[in-house]
């Protein structure tokens, strides 16, 4: 079925795009992490997503299988808290994609991902973590579709904008979770690396989703995509191509 193939290709492309982006941002993420952490976030995320890229490239499977494969790679390769947080959450949330990428499944995926990050990291909004970027993104995505009747691609664009504001929100906060919390007040005034990498993932998801929409999408294209919402780019493929 062409819809299925397109979805599978989109997920391959999204993971590829994220891996490229993290390679590009490796130094910057490490710089952010050296200010308030252990200076390994850029290297860890890069290593993890290069492994995810390699493993996913060798995997034939549906979107759920591909996202799960990426999650397993992150869990085993990252070597820091981002492994269980990014990888473990992708792994768990991938179950929501068993029926492919639709508005409903991608909302469920995004919510499950957020829930898993919160549970594993025991973090809430305001703790100066990736949750501060993720929560507004997931809430905005869901609300834009379910309440405002937006197309998934448009909702994703809004979610990316929300995530960007969430990243900015982390700067003036004192960290309560993660390595930055050991710095106490000295963590204030620095942007959180995990929230930042989360934004990068979302931005790449949006870029890939937009490409799959043939560049016709009216969203704020500045925004990058969060990893949590990986499936969203394809969400529109189902109604369009699903009957083929």
């Amino acid at each position: 079925m062409s819809g299925d193939t397109r979805q599978t290709e989109a997920v391959h492309d999204a993971i590829e795009a994220i891996a490229d982006r993290l390679a590009d941002e490796k130094e910057y993420l490490t710089e952010l992490d050296s200010a308030i952490g252990d200076a390994d976030h850029g290297a860890n995320m890069n290593r993890g997503f290069q492994a995810a890229r390699d493993r996913v490239a060798e995997t034939d499977g549906d979107p759920a299988e591909l996202v799960k494969t990426a999650g397993v790679a992150l869990v085993s390769e990252v070597g820091g808290a981002s492994g269980p947080l990014y990888g473990g959450s992708l792994l768990k949330a991938s179950q929501e994609l068993d029926d492919g990428l639709t508005a409903e499944t991608t909302i469920a995926f995004a919510e499950r991902y957020l829930e898993t990050v919160e549970e594993r990291g025991k973090a809430s909004v305001g703790d100066k973590t990736m949750v501060d970027a993720l929560t507004p993104a997931v809430h905005t995505y869901k609300k834009s579709i379910e309440v405002d009747d937006c197309e998934p691609i448009e909702a994703l664009g809004k979610a990316v904008d929300a995530a960007r504001r969430g990243v900015e929100f982390t700067t003036p906060l004192r960290a309560k979770k993660g390595r930055a919390s050991y710095l106490g007040w000295r963590s204030v005034g620095h942007q959180d690396p995990g929230a930042t990498s989360t934004l990068y993932l979302l931005e790449e998801l949006l870029d890939v989703a937009t490409e799959y929409e043939n560049g016709e999408v009216a969203v704020d294209a500045e925004a990058d995509i969060d990893p949590d919402e990986l499936p969203e780019p394809d969400a529109e493929d189902v109604p369009v191509d699903g009957g083929d």
Partner: protein
């Protein structure tokens, strides 16, 4: 019987903590896991899971001592995927907790709860 798994970001720290705990813990079964598989500072769930499985096979119950951050998250992940029933993470300082737990593990009537509880008592130890 109950054994211990010590998980640190550093291979040397994990090995050193095991060394100190073993001195008091006699023949208690203690495994040390530290660093990433390619020798960096950090933790990954695979080796933690392997250590838990190995200790469980020898000792039955397993109490896991962790240092911080990813050691906690990866130990949780390893426990979720390991096929071991009697395993628990002690909410304790890693060195003092390991030492207390090693002593408790050598008691004739040691249980998972008694060893974990001994480890967690270390959180209240006053030093000066």
């Amino acid at each position: 019987m109950v054994g211990l798994v010590v998980v640190s970001h550093s291979k040397q720290a994990a090995a050193g903590i095991r060394e100190i705990a073993q001195e008091m813990g006699g023949d208690a079964r203690i495994e040390a896991v530290g660093g990433t598989e390619d020798g960096r500072i950090g933790t990954t769930p695979g080796p933690i899971g392997d250590a838990i499985a190995a200790v469980a096979e020898d000792a039955g119950g397993v109490v896991v001592l962790v240092d911080l951050g990813s050691a906690v998250l990866n130990a949780e992940l390893a426990i979720e995927t390991a096929e071991v029933d009697d395993v628990a993470i002690a909410d304790a300082p890693i060195l003092e907790g390991a030492l207390n737990a090693a002593v408790a593990a050598t008691a004739a009537d040691a249980t998972l709860d008694s060893v974990r509880s001994a480890a967690e008592d270390a959180a209240d130890v006053s030093k000066v």
